[in-house]
Structure formats: C-alpha cells, structure tokens
Amino acid sequence: MTPQLDKKLLLQAYSTMRRIRDFEERVHLEFATGEIPGFVHLYAGEEASATGVIMHLGKEDYVASTHRGHGHCIAKGMQLRTMMAEIYGKKTGICGGKGGSMHVADLDLGMMGANGIVGGGGPLICGAALAAKVKKTNNVAVCFFGDGGSNQGTILESLNLASIWQLPAIFVAENNGYAEATSSRWSVATGNIADRGAAFGMPSAIVDGHDFFAVYEAAGEAVKRARSGGGPSLLEVKVNRYFGHFEGDQQTYRGPDEVKKLRETRDCLVLFRQKVTNQGELTNEELDQIDNEVKAEVAEAVDFAKGSPKPEAADLLTDVYVAYA
C-alpha cells in the first residue's frame, strides 16, 4: 500500500531526504580534512525515517532528537547554512557555536535539540506533550531515539508516563542495528523494540526504514492518534546507517560488505526514485533538478560555514542564565 501523496509532497519528501544525504556526505568529507572539531555522528542511510515522520508535523509540533540529529533538524526545517556553521563551531551557527553537532537546536521551529545523552529526549518530549495537553493546543511531540536509547531507563519511564498521562506523543525507535559498536540483536532483549509497546499499553508498529512510504504511512497513523486524543504510540523504524557511530569509526564490528550491499539494495533515495518514476508520479528530470539544487545549497552552506568568524572571547560568558544577580 502506498499512501497517496500529491506531487508537491513527493517533491518535498525527496528534497528533504536528498538534503539530509548530501549534507551528511559532505560533512563526512569535510570532517576528514580535520577542519570540523569534536564528535560528529552522521545520519546518512536513515533519511526516510526523519522525513517520513516529520512531514506530518507543523512548526508548532515538537521533536527531540539524538546525538545522530542532523537529519531530524533538516527535516524540521532548519537551514543548512546555519547548521553547517554550528557544526564548524562558528558564531553564525544556529546556536552561536556553543552547541555543535550534538546540540543543534532551534526552539522556534519546535526542534528541542540533538542530544548528547542517549535517551535524554524521552522525558523532555513527555513535557512538550504535557504542555500541549495543558494548553490545549492540539500539538504533538515526537521523541526519536535509537536502539541504544531503547535500553535506557529514561525511555522506558517515558513510555510509561506518556501512557498513563495519555500524552500526545510519538516515540520513534530508529533501530539502525548498532549502539556504538554493539549489535541491537544482542543488546535488545525483546528482539523488536516495538514489542515493548504492549508492556506500556501503547500501540506499536514495526516499519521498514528504507521505505519512505512505509514510514510516512505508519507515522501518519501515530500522529493522527496523538492529535485526536488517542494517546502515545511506539514506532520502530528498522534502518541502517552508512557511516560509523562517530566520524573516524573504522566500523570493524560490521560485516565486510555490509554497507556496500545496503547502499546497492536498500538505499531510501534509490528506492524512492524507482517507485515514483515507475508509477509515473515524478520524472527523473524533476528529481535530477532537486539533486542539482541541493548540491548547490550544500556547497553554499560549507562556504558560509568556512567563511564565518568564530565566537569571540566575550561570547564565552553569555547565554548561561536569562538573568543572574
């Protein structure tokens, strides 16, 4: 079953996935030059998850992300140039260079941040959903977490709290197979993270995270349930990452051709293109045009980041408190 999307939404979906992919591929290349400081965790390979979920959300809906957060940020509408500048630690970055890759956030867009603490977003999203419920705004809140995060107490507690408070929340477990270097086949006791939904009285589903349409459909049901007062849902997106846990990870824990095979057979952008062109919904030319536009946008973002100044000494001490006597 393919959900019906009009041409505008199909173009938007492809464009978002392409922007995430090219952004991440470029960060990968630039990181290798040594110019990008710190820890960087790339989302390439998982684009259909962020895109398929967040396309159901508006600016007023909240998203809490993970250390692997660039994709969620882009899908939520953040600009590539201010994100790139943040990753480079520049003053023009969305957080003024004070957050970096692991803390990219824009509360004006409902983006509550990437998060350096695995499982850190679960309680926060309960709070965002509680605020929506108390204020009767009809907004929803989405917590992305990984297979690693699925074993954190914060996530398990949050599933319970969201359920007993009947919060408008959606918990999206992006199971990319590895928590750092440890396989989720070993670390997740139930095998499927979605199986835990039953333990918390919560509807759950497993979805192929390489298939944008599958994610979009399942997420749509969960968002609809949350908006209509039906409470929280748990969605497990089975997906894969193309790069290591962090940049520089040699990934010796993975099979020798694992990523190569995934790229050849399970790539969400390739599968999307095949489907929409086979069905005559979009043409290769239309998609190629997006590819070219995104290439230029990413190049501009890198130029902007590289050309931007670093924060100044005076910036060290600002932004700690709203006011401090």
Binding site: G96, G113, A128, I164, W165
Partner: protein, 337 residues
C-alpha cells in the same frame, strides 16, 4: 496582613497564589495529590509530608500525581518548561537526584547555553534536604553543593517561613531553572508571613543579626543553629553578625565581604559534608578577595565526611550543634597571629 504560619504552609501558599495568578503554573510530584487511581479520597496526602495538600481542590488537574519515576517526570517538567509552562516539580528527597540528575544538570541547566541563548526554562524543582529526622543515609543529605556547582542552575535554601514564601514565588516567576531546597526539620517552624503575594530577589543575603566581633554565615536550618550560638556568645559580651545567604547560586558575596571587612573573622556553618561544600566555596572566595581583612583563619563547621547515620546518638553528633558553633567561634575569636 501578616499572621503566623508554618514553613510548610508558606510553601503551600506560595504555590497556590502563583497557580491562581498564572495559569501556566502547574505542580507535579509523587503523591502531590495523593490517591490517584484508588478507591479512597483524592488529595489524600498532598505530598509525602502534606506540603501540597489542598491544591488539588483549588486547581484540579493542574496539580498532578506522578509515578515513582523521577527521570521521566522531572524531565517532563523541564520539557514542559521549555515549551511554555511554569512547572513546580517535587523531587521528594534530594537524595533521589541520583536517579534523575541527568535531566537536571545535562538538560535543564545547559539548554540556554547550548542553544545559543534561545531557551527559557522556567522550572522549579522543590526538594527536601537535611538530617535530624532519623531518616538515615539515603533520606537526609544536604546536597545543594552539587547543584550550586552547575552553571545554569539557581539554588535557593530558605531558612524561615517568610523567606520560603517570598523565595518560592520568585522561583516560580524566575525564567531560569531553580532548585528549591526545603529542610525537613523546618516544616513546622512558624513565623509572621504576609497573606499577600511577595517575591524576594535572588542573590540578596539576609543579615539576620548585626555584630562587630565575628561573622557567621549559615545555610538553611544552620541559620537557627548559628542564632542559638550567637545568643550564647552575646551573654559573654561577644557581638556576632549572622548572615543567611538564602541563595547559593547566585551568591551575595558582597554582603559577606562587607561583614568580614568589619569583623575580620568568619565562621561558616554548613550542614553538608565537609569537602567541596558551600562553606569551602565561601571560604575560598573570602580568602581570595578579603585576605587582608582577615584576623583569623576562616573556619567551617560542617557535618563530618561520613554518610548520615541512623541512630540518634550518632545523628545528633553528625549535625553541627549550637555548642560546636559556639566553641569554634570562640577559637576564632581567640586566634592571634
């Protein structure tokens, strides 16, 4: 109109008045209503020691019971704060911070800085501190030093019903995350408290008693211990200045330095463990900024470097007493270079 009410009632009144004034104020915690889901009465407890009793009748669902799930509900209070509410969450005992500290010090405290100054997180976390209740090692600590250490948090430690009300109202109105420490032995203490709403600014110490011979800075319940010692010393003709910082972050350093400039002698009374506590912090500040004023070493009276014991014979030794404060203060007064 002021009338005598207890420390506990003052806290209840502060929350009630702010909930009445601002509908974005909500309150939550374990048994804060008490009785949710059972067949008996709702609002059965109003918190484990009854501090929030009666709020449910006034404000209904804006005061919420939570499961015993501190990471989830403390984090939810923080998440709700960054999304436009002003939650007052109760972490029953500060000793339980071990199960939810990440949400406080890695999330709430850091949002504003990490996000480039965009986040506003007006959350209050009320929590019980202190020994003397025979509650043993996991329900009796004074861990405010750990929170004072963290940039992005504000730390409030009231010592009287008047301060409890005014400081809690300020905490709820404040736009930064505030940890509000309530000493469990103070809940029954009564004093004059105005009925009307009022806020006491942070970072303004209260000079409880003026004196020219020696300065005592005391935190929380230790203010009362220091006062008793000062009363005894007065009988011997020694005039003690007693200062209650009221907030340890921000800290009113100037009032302490001004007093030390006058007396030249400083004793700090802090119920927490002796290493890296608020007392050592103040001692360091005074050593750095007022070395020339000092006529004697800055001396700290604190609990020993042991967990809080259970047996009353041991716990009474553990807590700084007026007699100890008096003896130490006299040593400081007798010191000559």
């Amino acid at each position: 109109m002021a009338r005598k009410i207890s420390f506990k009632q003052a806290i209840n009144e502060a929350i009630a008045q702010e909930m009445g004034r601002d509908e974005t104020v909500i309150a939550m915690g374990e048994d804060n209503v008490g009785g949710m889901g059972g067949d008996g009465e709702k609002d059965a407890w109003g918190g484990v020691l009854g501090v929030t009793k009666g709020l449910y009748g006034k404000y209904g669902d804006r005061i919420m019971d939570t499961p015993i799930s501190e990471s989830a509900f403390i984090g939810a209070a923080i998440g709700a704060a960054v999304c436009g509410l002003r939650p007052v969450a109760e972490l029953m005992f500060v000793d339980f911070m071990g199960v939810c500290f990440d949400q406080i010090f890695n999330q709430a405290a850091k949002f504003r800085y990490m996000f480039g100054g965009k986040a506003v997180t007006p959350v209050v976390i009320r929590t019980m501190i202190g020994a003397g209740f025979r509650a043993a090692a996991q329900h009796s600590q004074c861990l405010y030093s750990l929170f004072t250490h963290i940039p992005g948090l504000k730390c409030v430690i009231p010592s009287s019903p008047y301060d409890a009300k005014g400081l809690l109202i300020q905490s709820i109105r404040d736009n930064d995350p505030v940890i509000f420490f309530e000493h469990k032995l103070l809940y029954g203490l009564e004093s004059d408290v105005p009925e009307e709403s009022y806020a006491i600014p942070f970072g303004e110490a209260n000079v409880i008693r003026e004196g020219d011979d020696v300065t005592i800075v005391a935190i929380g319940r230790m203010v009362h211990v220091a006062q008793q010692a000062a009363d005894d010393l007065a009988k011997e003709g020694i005039q003690t200045e007693v200062i209650d910082p009221r907030t340890t972050s921000p800290l009113d350093v100037d009032t302490i330095l001004d007093s030390v400039a006058n007396t030249g002698r400083l004793v700090i009374v802090d119920e927490s463990h002796p290493r890296c506590n608020v007392g050592t912090d103040i001692a360091a500040l005074v050593g750095q900024k007022a070395f020339g004023d000092l006529k004697a070493p800055v001396t700290i009276v604190s609990a020993p470097h042991v967990p809080v014991p259970f047996s009353d014979s041991l716990e009474d030794l553990y807590i700084p007493s007026p007699a100890r404060v008096k003896a130490v203060t006299k040593e400081v007064l007798e010191y000559s270079k």
